[in-house]
């Protein structure tokens, strides 16, 4: 894949299109950053040299591409694996009805390339996991407009794994840092943040900022439902598998499936005198729909793009470093310095400790539960290996069927029985990070009983 884009000529840099940008980039102002050098070179850099990656071509992604293109960036890549749906059109403004079913990344890139000739967007209809470190290292700045926490954590881990450390004092080599700007929205709320991996708070440092996922206890769903959501979950989790109405698993995008769930949930609700089961609610629960509106996406993407521009040109200092936004009641914003965590799983650069009460009663399954449920870890399907007596040993791995079957028996064994000592390092692989994470077991209570 070769890019045959010709660099913007001096002539096009002098175009009146850049009238406003040149006032910003070629004039010194009293609030500019100390090392800002006003010069035509700044625009030349944005147009010809600076390379930006936008992850996600959805609500935020569409806005980001437009914003960056108009701010003078000439070389942007965009990754998105999704295709366009009807319900995207209320905010993803680069797509039209005819585009439904097409790749978001390609459609968005085509639109920008056509509308703004000074910018070339390269689309990648792919997953972020399809690319390796060398791909990500070609970019000066990475901007995320994602709706998935796992994907954010993965890219965060990728940028941290690219860091190089000074051997003498352990400090981060600044030239190995790729800044990451991250935006997120939900309804009328949103946030934008600037992350300098290794230097400032990263996604994992502030994992607790993400709202916990709502999970209804199974016994409530099965035995004592009170809310319409309980009835819907019942049909989804229990009744669907039992009755298997379409001989396939539940597909939230299939209207017949949703209709079936709606009918059954309504029946169950009526049986228990519960009100409030609606078709929209059923869809929302089954598909985990997050409300979204054009305005919030525009606001958050613009805040992110402003920060990309500041970092790329050095015209002003970056905001420090996390902005919350909410316009339900008036217009509220709050910008504060999120703090880097010394115990961060991703960027602390030292193996983190997992505290175990008693290795003789804590099973491997318990350990996995800790890794999934403890707010510090919040992993999804951790696979665990370790080294015992100089030999690699896979303790458990759920993602590969044959290994899962071979290691399943370990789940019910205690850590002591598995031969794991106090201070033992375990290697954990999970979809929340591109790298294996090294953790150290720390036994608080009894020593391992030796037999």
């Amino acid at each position: 894949m070769s890019s045959t884009m010709s660099p913007a000529s001096t002539n096009s840099l002098n175009s009146k299109r850049w009238h406003s940008m040149r006032h910003i980039l070629e004039r010194a102002g009293p609030f500019c950053k100390a090392d800002f050098a006003p010069s035509p070179d700044n625009l030349e850099f944005l147009q010809n040299t600076c390379k930006i990656l936008v992850i996600g071509a959805g609500g935020l992604g569409c806005e980001l591409l437009k914003d960056l293109a108009l701010m003078g960036f000439g070389d942007i890549h965009v990754i998105d694996m999704d295709t366009i749906e009807l319900s995207n059109l209320n905010r993803q403004f680069l797509f039209r009805r005819n585009d439904i079913g097409s790749s978001k990344a390609e459609c968005a890139a085509n639109f920008i390339n056509k509308r703004i000739p000074t910018c070339h967007v390269t689309p990648h209809c792919a997953k972020i996991q399809d690319f390796d470190e060398s791909f990500y290292q070609q970019f000066h700045i990475i901007v995320c407009g994602l709706d998935s926490i796992v994907a954010r954590r993965w890219i965060n881990g990728m940028l941290i794994s690219s860091l190089r450390y000074n051997e003498e004092d352990g400090s981060v080599d600044p030239s190995s840092i790729t800044p990451m700007i991250d935006g997120g929205t939900e309804g009328f709320k949103g946030n934008a943040r600037v992350i300098l991996p290794g230097l400032t708070a990263c996604i994992e440092c502030t994992l607790d900022l993400f709202p916990p996922q709502v999970n209804y206890p199974l016994c409530t769903i099965a035995n004592t439902p009170r809310l319409p959501e309980h009835c819907i979950e019942y049909v989804k989790i229990i009744q669907w598998d039992k009755e298997n109405p379409f001989n396939c698993s539940l597909d939230g995008d299939d209207p017949q499936h949703i209709a079936w769930v709606y009918e059954r949930a309504l029946e169950r609700a009526t049986q228990y005198n519960i009100t409030g089961v609606t078709y929209r609610l059923v869809q929302g629960v089954i598909k985990h729909i997050i409300p979204a509106v054009a305005s919030t996406n525009a606001v958050i993407a613009a805040a992110c793009a402003t920060e990309v521009f500041k970092l790329a040109t050095s015209c002003y200092d970056s905001m420090c470093n996390y902005m919350n936004f909410n316009d339900i009641d008036g217009i509220y914003t709050y910008t504060y310095a999120a703090e880097k965590s010394e115990n961060c799983l991703a960027c602390s650069n030292i193996p983190q400790v997992v505290n175990i009460e008693d290795p003789n009663t804590t099973t491997l399954e318990d350990l996995i539960k800790i890794l999934c449920e403890n707010p510090r870890f919040q992993m999804k399907q951790p696979g665990i290996t370790t080294v015992i007596d100089g030999k690699n040993k896979t303790l458990y791995m759920s993602t590969v069927k044959s290994i899962e079957e071979r290691t399943r028996a370990n789940l019910t064994q205690s850590l002591g029985e598995l031969g794991l000592k106090d201070g033992q390092q375990i290697n954990v692989a999970d979809q929340t990070s591109p790298n294996t994470i090294v953790l150290q077991l720390k036994y608080n209570g009894n020593e391992v009983e030796m037999d």
């Binding site: 509106v293 054009a294 008036g330």
Partner: protein, 522 residues
């Protein structure tokens, strides 16, 4: 085997397209939005970004007023133009590319300046639901402000210059029933249980299966007996009550745990809030006439109900939070709340009908459903009474209190600087700093100084750095700053149109350098 062909409420195409936002403002909000008429004055970056976030969610009609033609400079800040529109009417070109976003929306354009319309067709703006304007000179702004205030048409006035900007809402009166508060306070009436709830309390045995509300009530009774009938109001007393509940735990009862947690949030609902008090005391509430808005008629009925019938307590909203319990005992309790809420709302509805009759208005002016919603939201009802932008320019106006302070370094300083910029446009006829930064900085400083003196300010001054920063922008519009403000302005317009959520009251200021914002009431 079950038949997979149910007769479900198949969603309409529009319903699917707007699903993600209907989850926020409901189908009733969407319907209002689809009838809205918006006017945009000046098709610059911030204006078109605002309009974009209104066309996408599906307003009815928009009209762009702009008398200029498209130049190359415009292409750099406005996404809704391309090279084929160079030399053409900006209003027409932007209208085409904005309308193309959403075929449900109708676009219109007027290829005249706002100044021309204000002089020659002053009633032009009367029919719009909201007018959005930006980057006017001071003279045009004041004229527009006066015209729209007279016509009672809401105005959102936006400024975007360099990395600074502001949004000012001018609206006479705005009433909101559905404010959608983020963390609404529970209104459970434990302090004064209504008769059916009291009966339920007395007749229900406390087990580990009942909702925490019943657990809390039992121990509240006990605490009150020991404390002269008081309600625990401070931290220490609430801790005592929690301790009491804790002692009742015998076997990890989840509802007892939940009752302990609820001690902090369960009390205090149902009283008249200060904003509701202001609504009850408002002239519009107490001097009803045939022209009164439904909101005020319902407010009066609500007030009469609260004062004359309900011992100063609001109608019950009838919303029970989720509580761990078996189905029957939870649903029973929920029904008790709902039933009482229905009764209260019925009473307010009857009072509404009486008032309508007295005013000689038709009984179907206000339906039962609306009154129920009004009662459910009673604690959060909001009325904004705004002020006229042009009044900010009068000597010794309220604005002076906000400005005549140690101004330097505040976000208010940015606002004053942006206003000085507009006066410069009117007085000097050129854009400050477009060609000569240093010369214009000195002139802008003089303009600002005089502007502050005209207001009657004695302390306030702009810093040299602020004046210089404004001038060095040379009138530059930075797209991302405009996009940020445009998104916000659009949402404020949606709030005004749908009468849901609370709009800004009334001036929002943004510094994109530090990412700081503030709101002033001017």
């Amino acid at each position: 085997m079950s038949s997979p062909a149910p007769k479900s409420p198949e969603q309409s195409d529009k319903n699917k397209k707007y699903d993600r936002q209907i989850r926020l403002w409901g189908e009733h909000g969407q319907n209002v939005l689809e009838g809205a008429k918006i006017c945009l004055i000046n098709a610059n970056g911030i204006g078109c970004e605002t309009l974009k976030s209104l066309v996408l969610p599906g307003i009815g009609v928009f009209t762009i007023v702009d008398g200029s033609v498209v130049t190359e400079e415009d292409l750099g800040v406005n996404f809704f133009l391309d090279s084929s529109s160079l030399g053409q009417s900006k209003a027409a070109a932007c209208m085409m590319l904005l309308q193309e976003l959403n075929p449900d929306v109708n676009g219109d354009c007027v290829e005249e300046s706002v100044d021309y319309l204000l002089v020659n067709r002053p009633s032009f703006f009367d029919d719009f639901d909201v007018v959005v304007a930006s980057n006017l000179n001071e003279e045009s702004l004041l004229r527009l402000s006066n015209c729209l205030w007279e016509a009672n048409v809401p105005l959102l006035y936006c400024r975007s210059l360099g990395f600074f900007g502001s949004i000012r809402l001018q609206i006479k009166e705005h009433c909101v029933i559905e404010t959608h508060p983020d963390n609404p306070q529970f209104d459970l009436r434990l302090e004064q249980p209504f008769p059916s709830l009291k009966k339920h309390f007395e007749s229900t045995q406390i087990t580990n299966k009942v909702p925490w509300l019943l657990v809390l009530n039992k121990y509240l009774d006990q605490w009150r007996q020991e404390n002269n009938g008081k309600i625990p109001s401070n931290y220490r007393e609430k801790l005592q009550l929690k301790e009491m509940i804790r002692k009742g735990i015998t076997n990890d009862e989840e509802n007892f745990e939940e009752a302990m947690k609820a001690v902090n949030t369960a009390f205090g609902g149902g009283h008249i809030t200060s904003s509701l008090k202001a609504i009850f005391e408002d002239d519009a509430c107490n001097n009803l006439n045939k022209q009164s808005k439904s909101f005020w008629i319902m407010a009066k009925a609500l007030k009469d109900f609260v004062v004359q019938e309900n011992n100063g307590m609001l109608p019950l909203p009838g919303i029970l939070p989720d509580m761990t319990a078996d189905t029957e005992s939870y649903i029973n309790l929920q029904n008790i709340y709902r039933h009482q809420a229905m009764q209260d709302a019925d009473s307010v509805y009857r009072r509404t009908q009486t008032i309508l009759k007295e005013l000689g208005l038709s009984p179907d002016t206000i339906d039962e459903k609306t009154v129920r919603l009004f009662c459910k939201e009673a604690a959060h009802l909001t009325v904004i009474r705004g002020s006229k932008i042009s009044d900010e320019y009068e000597r010794n106006n309220r604005f002076l209190n906000e400005v005549d302070i140690e101004l330097q370094g505040t976000l208010t300083e940015h606002y004053v600087a942006l206003r000085a910029y507009e006066r410069f446009l009117t007085e000097c006829g050129n854009i400050p700093g477009d060609c000569y930064v240093e010369n214009d900085t000195a002139r802008l400083k003089t303009v600002a100084y005089k502007m502050l003196a005209d207001l009657g300010a004695t302390q306030a001054t702009l810093s040299d750095d602020m004046v210089h920063e404004i001038c060095h922008y040379g009138g530059a519009e930075v797209h991302t700053i405009s996009a940020f403000l445009g998104g916000i302005a659009a949402q404020e317009a949606i709030k005004i149109i749908t009468s849901q959520f609370k709009p800004v009251d009334n001036t929002f200021i943004y510094n994109g350098i530090t990412s700081e914002t503030t709101t002033l009431k001017l």
